[in-house]
């Protein structure tokens, strides 16, 4: 069941189209990654989904409710990208205040604040004024505030941008623990490797339009490269192979080419062996998310159905 539904969403600021006809569906319990270059419309889309911005056209629902509906907001947590907290509060006071806003009473709010501060590694820092927190600590505090209402859906806009590698790992562990607990996470991040490590599904948007949307393995499927170390390749066999694989190249004992998919590599190797070649090493190429991202952002647009 889709817990986030976006249908033909468009947002126009004056003459500038921030989002155009976006369609997305995120299943409950998934970690969903939203990728795109700067200015692609990611933050606008997230702001529409959490009710900060009104769409010009189209419809969005989160947990079954329109983003401005307070019943839906009880089930949503949000860590914005460019946020700051009220510096005159201590960390614990701030998270407890957010817990009160989320509907908890005084004592329960204090208890819950302690729990989420512990979750993000700030349990010992709760009595400090927010003004004295480092940027990384503020980001963790933001994550704690986003989680304090025990939301079903958590929107995280660049949650690790100010964190060191250890902090990033800790946030990744928190995300995976949340997924384990059945929460849905909508992750907006520039860190492709991070998205690759935790996300079940990914959408890539460019110039306000979705250019790819699917499971990571689906996106990573398709043309695959391979490098093969061999000897015994005759000119005649190489010429025959080039007819089918035009980018085939042979440099010394190293042959590289692009195949239609990784599953075709075994057939190709069998053909080489049948042609009298001796194979020493086969290295399949990996379609990284970065490759896909760069390829799609440069290429075209996917029209939503």
């Amino acid at each position: 069941m889709a817990i986030i539904e976006v249908r033909n969403l468009t947002k126009v600021y004056g003459r500038q189209v921030a989002c155009r006809d976006i369609c997305l569906f995120v299943e409950e319990g998934q970690i969903f990654g939203l990728l795109g270059p700067n200015g692609a419309g990611k933050s606008t889309l997230v702001k529409i989904l959490v009710g900060l911005v009104y769409p010009t056209a189209g419809e969005a629902k989160v947990a079954g409710y329109a983003p401005q509906d307070l019943r839906g907001r009880r089930q949503v947590g949000f860590l914005p990208e460019n946020f700051r907290f009220h510096s005159w509060l201590t960390g614990k006071e701030l998270v407890a205040f957010h817990a009160r806003l989320a509907g908890l009473d005084g004592k329960a709010a204090g208890q819950r604040a302690y729990e989420v501060l512990e979750l993000v590694g700030l349990a010992g820092e709760g009595q400090k004024l927010v003004a004295n927190y480092s940027k990384g600590m503020q980001q963790r505090l933001g994550l704690a505030a986003a989680l304090v209402g025990d939301p079903r859906v958590v929107f995280l806009d660049e949650p690790t941008s100010a964190l060191d590698p250890l902090g990033r790992r800790q946030v990744r562990e928190v995300l995976l623990a949340l997924k384990e607990a059945g929460k849905t996470i909508f992750l907006n991040s520039h860190l492709l490797s991070e998205v690759e490590q935790v996300c079940d599904r990914v959408a890539i948007i460019n110039r306000g339009t979705v250019v790819a949307d699917g499971r990571l393995d689906e996106l990573q499927a398709g043309p695959a490269t391979a490098a093969i170390r061999l000897d015994g390749l005759t000119g005649e066999l190489a010429a025959k192979l080039r007819l089918r694989y035009p980018d085939l190249q042979l440099e010394g004992d190293r042959l590289t080419l692009t195949l239609n998919g990784r599953e075709e590599i075994a057939d190709f190797v069998a053909r080489l062996v049948a042609g009298g070649c001796r194979i020493y090493e086969v290295t399949p190429g990996h379609n990284s998310l970065e490759d896909i991202f760069v390829h799609l952002v440069r290429e075209g647009e996917l029209v939503c159905g």
Binding site: K47, V50, G51, L52, V53, Y54, L70, R71, R73, R74, V76, G77, F78, L79, P80, N82, F83, R84, F85, H86, W88, L89, F97, H98, R100, L101, A102, G103, G142, A145, A146, G149
Partner: protein, 289 residues
């Protein structure tokens, strides 16, 4: 909404807004009290007739009190505008509003929570300031200011008017733009109020009407003038025989209340606050954050 109001009140307290305003107010009161002591002390010796001396002292006391109220209302007005000028726009600019806006808290409740939190802070400050002025008068002269309770209410009303207008401005304008807007409007109201008083003194109907129009645009000065009338009109004017005949309002001139706002103007002022808040809520509900 009340959680937000309490948060806003605590914010003003913890950010030392009240402390700074309080220290400045104490300095003002010390200066005012010193001036009050020496003015009253020197004048009393000039009259041989004790009844006349008492009458003159009473009139002077009320006039000095009115002047004190006039000057202190600027401090209260400044605090009202400065405390609210960036309530929404400033929090959007520095990013503190985003985490709050996605909570199960309607935009109406967030805005009204801010209004009530700031209003509680301003009402407390204004009331203490006013009572301190009245207390100084009592300490120096033994006089209880006539019409103290309604005058106190009117003194508190003025910052509420400014607060509501400034909150409307902050839902649409930048912090700087709203500051210019609110202070500009307040200056207009003060100048318009003066014009109205001068118009009455000079018998110029057109000038009076100009002042009335500015009072309708921002009825902050009208609250002050009704306050002055509430206090000054309760003291006896001279009878022209044993006591000289004069109206204390004439001595106050443009700082007094030659043209006293009616009860309907007070009703208008209260309706104005409600309307400004409704407009602020409506604007805030419709805008993108």
């Amino acid at each position: 909404m009340w959680l937000m109001a309490l948060f806003t009140f605590r914010e003003a307290w913890r950010k030392k807004v009240v402390l700074v305003a309080g220290l400045l107010t104490l300095a003002f009161l010390a200066l005012y009290g010193t001036g009050l002591h020496f003015v009253l002390d020197s004048d009393r010796a000039n009259f041989a007739d004790p009844a006349l001396a008492d009458f003159i002292a009473l009139t002077e006391t009320i006039l000095i009190f009115s002047m004190g109220v006039y000057l202190s209302s600027f401090l209260v007005a400044g605090l009202a505008i400065l405390s609210a000028v960036g309530s929404i726009a400033g929090e959007i600019e520095n990013g503190t509003l985003y985490p709050l806006m996605v909570r199960p808290l309607s935009r109406r409740d967030l805005l009204l929570g801010k209004f009530f939190g700031l209003a509680a802070m301003l009402a407390t400050y204004a009331a203490l300031f006013f009572l301190a002025l009245a207390g100084l008068i009592y300490w120096q002269t033994g006089l209880v200011i006539p019409g103290l309770a309604p005058a106190l209410g009117l003194f508190v009303l003025k910052p509420m008017v400014l607060l509501s207008v400034t909150l409307l401005g902050t839902t649409r304008l930048t912090t700087l733009g709203n500051g210019v807007f609110a202070f500009g409007l307040y200056s207009l109201a003060v100048v318009g109020g003066k014009m109205e008083q001068i118009g009455v003194l000079l018998g110029s109907t057109a000038t009076v009407y100009t002042g009335v129009v500015t009072s309708l645009i921002l009825p902050a000065d009208a609250a002050y003038r009704r306050l002055v009338a509430t206090v000054v009109d309760r003291i006896a004017t001279g009878n022209g025989q044993d006591l000289p005949f004069f109206n204390p309002q004439n001595i106050l001139g443009p700082f007094g209340s030659q043209s006293t706002p009616s009860d309907w103007m007070l009703v208008y002022t209260l309706a104005y606050i409600v309307f400004m808040l409704a407009a602020a809520v409506s604007t805030f509900k419709r805008r993108d954050i």
